[in-house]
């Protein structure tokens, strides 16, 4: 049997050890102060116990030196704790550049996941060992929270917007996945498993699961089906801005603001096009609210992200005109 610290969940991600180290420090710090105060209280209580019914206490009732001591020391300790905690948090919040993006949609009461290669799963997620994984998540109904204790990661899954988390699995096996934000009757059954496999096994597993093509391909089909291309063309005079190379670029808006074209912006522009109108265009696009599922939107975004910046003459002209 391998050595295991009692009451600690398995460490199965690159961050688990760091979180546990922080935990051990916190426990040590708290134990020290609890024991210190308990020892002080117990010693004083016994040493100065009342010996006669009329006895009163002494008159030593203030000391600037003591007050300063027990103000400054806790200040230093909490600042140190804060810095350590913030450093770990920044690493937990920021995925590495080579992270591969998976998709998660929460709904009452199941987790729907999709691989970058298009395979879909329910209440299961298979990932290869050692590969940084970023999850892009949204909810179809209420707020959920994606929580894998063995990876020490958690993020709320919200309706109407994207949140993300990342992890690098460091151990093969099956790990519990929980919903941590109360979401209704079957909240405690909204659980599943994350399975970490050796990369070769993972490839074999991927090949064994039937798929309708990658999310990008599905997005392309949807793009055509919804006739998005009738307006979003790379031609001068098109009703909508061209989408090639759009992802990750700043976009000048009609009201003078500039936004970054990230997933949230693309999602909003599909569901709520008039909220941010690109400079030089009329707000003529209808909303696709209720016509595309959350998964469909993710596929559309994938497709838009895949479009190369080629044929960008009209895009450049449009943005120049706006500026």
């Amino acid at each position: 049997m391998p050595f295991k610290i009692p009451f600690m969940p398995e460490q199965a991600s690159s961050m688990a050890g760091e979180v546990d180290a922080l935990t051990l420090y916190l426990v040590a710090m708290a134990s020290f102060f609890t024991v210190l105060v308990a020892a002080m209280v117990i010693y004083f209580a016994i040493r100065y116990r009342r010996r006669s019914p009329d006895e009163v206490g002494g008159s030593f009732d203030n000391s600037a030196l003591l007050e300063i001591t027990w103000t400054v020391i806790p200040v230093l300790i909490v600042l140190f704790t804060f810095v350590w905690g913030a450093r770990v948090a920044f690493r937990l919040y920021r995925p590495p550049a080579d992270a591969v993006q998976y998709y998660v949609t929460g709904k009452q009461w199941m987790w729907k996941t999709q691989h970058p290669t298009g395979q879909r799963e329910i209440n299961e997620l298979h990932v290869p060992l050692g590969q940084p994984v970023k999850l892009l998540m949204t909810s179809e109904d209420v707020i959920h929270s994606f929580f894998v204790p063995a990876f020490r990661v958690k993020a709320d899954v919200l309706p109407g917007r994207y949140t993300s988390l990342w992890f690098t699995p460091t151990k093969t096996g099956r790990f519990h996945l929980f919903c941590a934000e109360y979401c209704g009757a079957e909240h405690s059954r909204m659980i599943g498993w994350v399975t970490v496999m050796e990369p070769e096994e993972y490839q074999a597993w991927l090949a064994s699961v039937p798929t309708q093509g990658s999310p990008t391909a599905a997005g392309e089909r949807l793009f055509a089906q919804l006739a998005c291309h009738t307006c979003h063309q790379d031609a001068a005079g098109a009703k909508g801005p061209a989408l090639g190379g759009l992802y990750g670029r700043p976009v000048a808006l009609a009201d003078g603001r500039t936004v970054l074209a990230d997933e949230s912006y693309l999602r909003e522009s599909i569901l709520n096009p008039a909220a941010k109108v690109v400079a030089g265009y009329e707000a003529v696009m209808p909303s696709f609210q209720g016509q595309v599922s959350e998964e469909g939107i993710l596929e559309l975004i994938n497709y838009v992200k895949s479009l190369p910046a080629g044929g960008s003459a009209s895009v450049a002209a449009a943005s120049e005109g706006a500026l």
């Binding site: 600690m8 979180v19 922080l22 935990t23 916190l26 710090m29 708290a30 609890t34 105060v37 308990a38 002080m40 209280v41 004083f44 209580a45 100065y48 009342r50 019914p53 009329d54 006895e55 009163v56 206490g57 002494g58 008159s59 030593f60 009732d61 203030n62 007050e67 103000t71 200040v75 909490v78 600042l79 704790t81 804060f82 350590w84 905690g85 913030a86 770990v88 948090a89 920044f90 937990l92 919040y93 209420v142 707020i143 929270s145 929580f147 204790p149 990661v153 958690k154 919200l158 309706p159 109407g160 917007r161 519990h176 941590a180 109360y182 209704g184 909240h187 405690s188 059954r189 609210q289």
Partner: protein, 546 residues
């Protein structure tokens, strides 16, 4: 002192009949009305808690249906937070004692005070109506869109009940603030006030500033649910996370509404049972104000994993850390008060010592949770549940019970049986730790809160917790029995059974309707044991420079 407590008229026997209670303007009688109200809601909340623990005895979720379980924990939280923890100490002990401690005849607005109780009972009754009609399953936090669009339970009724109850807190806070500002006896300067009064002043400040925000938030939620306004609905351009911000802008300070009055009680207990002035009086007084102010700046730590930016998270993490400082100052000062004290171990002191231990753990685990990198893993797990029960049960209820025992002779004129008092104090302490310490471990292992069923590997700790809950329940029921018993059979208390300082111990037990036979004039510092001796404390001693 051969005078018996009942021979003279006091606030209890001055008038008789139900009407004399229901229409009373006497702050002491209103305090007792609150005692009955909060005890009822505490029992109700306790029954829900017991059913929750019974369900969690086995991992399969086989005692009640999931939606029943969800109603149980929601109603437990709502009853305990809004109808017990928030009103308990200010409503019962604050009402009874603040006017007496500052040497006046009543609070500034006695009619408003009675109205506050009626509003509290109205809010409670509306909520109870919602419970009887099937309850609510949103958790006490009412997060939309679940509460606004998806829950099929009585969110409207319960939401309105909690909304109404908020005005009781606001008006009580307002009343206390004006009373403390304008009604102090001659010579009762701000820095001669007992720390109990300082703590309630800080609490009232939060009540007046924070409660209106949750009132408007719940009102918006109720409107959203009734008319589908879209304010918290992402599909209509609203933002469900905004509700969380507004909710916690009140509900985090509300934690301090619950704990500050308890800290205020602890300061009195420690001084009385060491017969010594509380160490660092000014620091303890100002730390209450510090907690009240800082408490308004930390709400964002409830949204560390709700898609908040890491920068906002970092700022809230730092601010959260800072709240630990005034709390630490209090704990160190209380502990050091024992030094050279005359320490006795009567029941109230046992509760006070228990409070220090449990609040240490509750407060320090609060620092854990404020640590951003740590919180992400344990957010919304049993670690959080354990933490806030350490603060609210280990803190607030220990202070409440300690204070109730300490002032029981003053309130009723009778002394409770000391042996049973100590027994229950120890049962509560042991039962409490057995119930909630395992939950820290469960939380770190990953058990999410509000789970009706859980993986089998967590059963041992859950069984321990349920076993502890039964001990804790017994510890809470004992006082109910012997305190009622003491009303008739307890020894007569006399003015000052503890040999304690403070204006409340200079008047009769129970006090006369107008509180003092002769209007008091204050000429000494609070807790001036060393300066003027003790005993009846009637003779004013010359003020001592320090």
């Amino acid at each position: 002192m051969s005078r018996t407590g009942t021979a003279e008229t006091n606030y209890l026997n001055a008038q008789h009949g139900l009407k004399s209670w229901l229409l009373t303007l006497d702050h002491k009688r209103i305090g007792l009305l609150y005692l009955m109200g909060v005890s009822f809601f505490f029992l109700l909340g306790g029954i829900f808690a017991l059913l929750i623990r019974l369900e969690l005895l086995t991992p399969q979720g086989d005692l009640v249906q999931p939606d029943t379980y969800n109603r149980l924990f929601s109603m437990h939280g709502i009853m305990m937070v809004f109808f017990f923890l928030i009103p308990a100490i200010p409503g019962v002990l604050g009402n009874f004692l603040i006017p007496i401690m500052i040497g006046t005849r009543d609070v500034a607005f006695p009619r408003l005070n009675l109205a506050s109780w009626y509003i509290f009972m109205a809010g409670g009754s509306i909520t109870l109506l919602g419970v009887l009609a099937g309850g609510v399953d949103t958790g006490w936090t009412f997060y939309p869109p679940y509460s606004s669009l998806y829950s099929a339970t009585n969110v409207l009724t319960v939401g309105i009940g909690v909304f109404v109850n908020g005005f009781s807190s606001i008006l009580t806070g307002l009343n206390f603030m004006v009373t403390i500002h304008r009604m102090r006896a001659p010579g009762m300067t701000w820095f001669r006030l007992p720390l109990f009064v300082w703590g309630h002043y800080a609490t009232s400040f939060i009540n007046v500033l924070g409660t209106p925000v949750i009132a408007i938030t719940l009102l918006l939620l109720v409107l959203e649910r009734a008319f589908h306004l879209g304010i918290f609905d992402a599909t209509k351009g609203g933002d469900p996370v905004l509700f969380q911000h507004l909710f916690w802008f009140y509900s985090h300070p509300a934690v301090y509404i619950m704990i500050l009055p308890s800290m205020a009680v602890i300061s009195e207990l420690i001084a009385a049972f060491t017969r010594k002035r509380v160490f660092g009086y000014h620091f303890v007084a100002f730390s209450s104000i510090g907690i009240a102010v800082l408490g308004f700046l930390v709400w964002g730590h409830h949204m560390f994993v709700s898609g908040q930016s890491v920068y906002a998270g970092t700022a809230f993490s730092l601010l959260t850390m800072l709240v630990a400082i005034p709390s630490a100052i209090k704990v160190f000062n209380w502990s050091f008060t024992l030094y050279q004290g005359s320490v006795s171990f009567d029941t109230p002191m046992l509760y006070a010592l228990g409070f220090i231990g449990l609040f240490m753990i509750g407060g320090l685990t609060g620092v854990f949770l404020g640590t951003l990198g740590f919180d992400i893993h344990v957010h919304d797990t049993y670690f959080v549940v354990a933490h806030f029960h350490y603060v609210m049960v280990g803190g607030t209820i220990m202070g409440y019970l300690g204070g109730l025992h300490y002032w029981w002779p003053k309130i009723t004129g009778r002394i409770y049986p000391e042996f049973w008092g100590r027994m229950s104090a120890m049962l509560v302490f042991v039962g409490f730790n057995l119930t909630f310490f395992p939950q820290f471990l469960l939380g770190y292992m990953g058990m999410p809160r509000r789970y009706h069923a859980y993986p089998e590997e967590w059963q041992v700790l859950n069984v321990l917790s349920t076993a502890g809950a039964s001990v804790l329940g017994l510890g809470f029921l004992l006082p109910l029995g012997y305190l009622l018993w003491s009303l008739k059979y307890g020894k007569l208390a006399g003015k000052n059974p503890w040999g304690a300082k403070g204006l409340e111990w200079t008047t009769d037990s129970p006090p006369p309707t107008e509180n003092f036979r002769d209007a008091p004039v204050v000429s000494e510092e609070a807790y001036d044991y060393a300066g003027a001796g003790h005993g009846d404390g009637g003779a004013p001693a010359p003020a001592r420079a320090h």
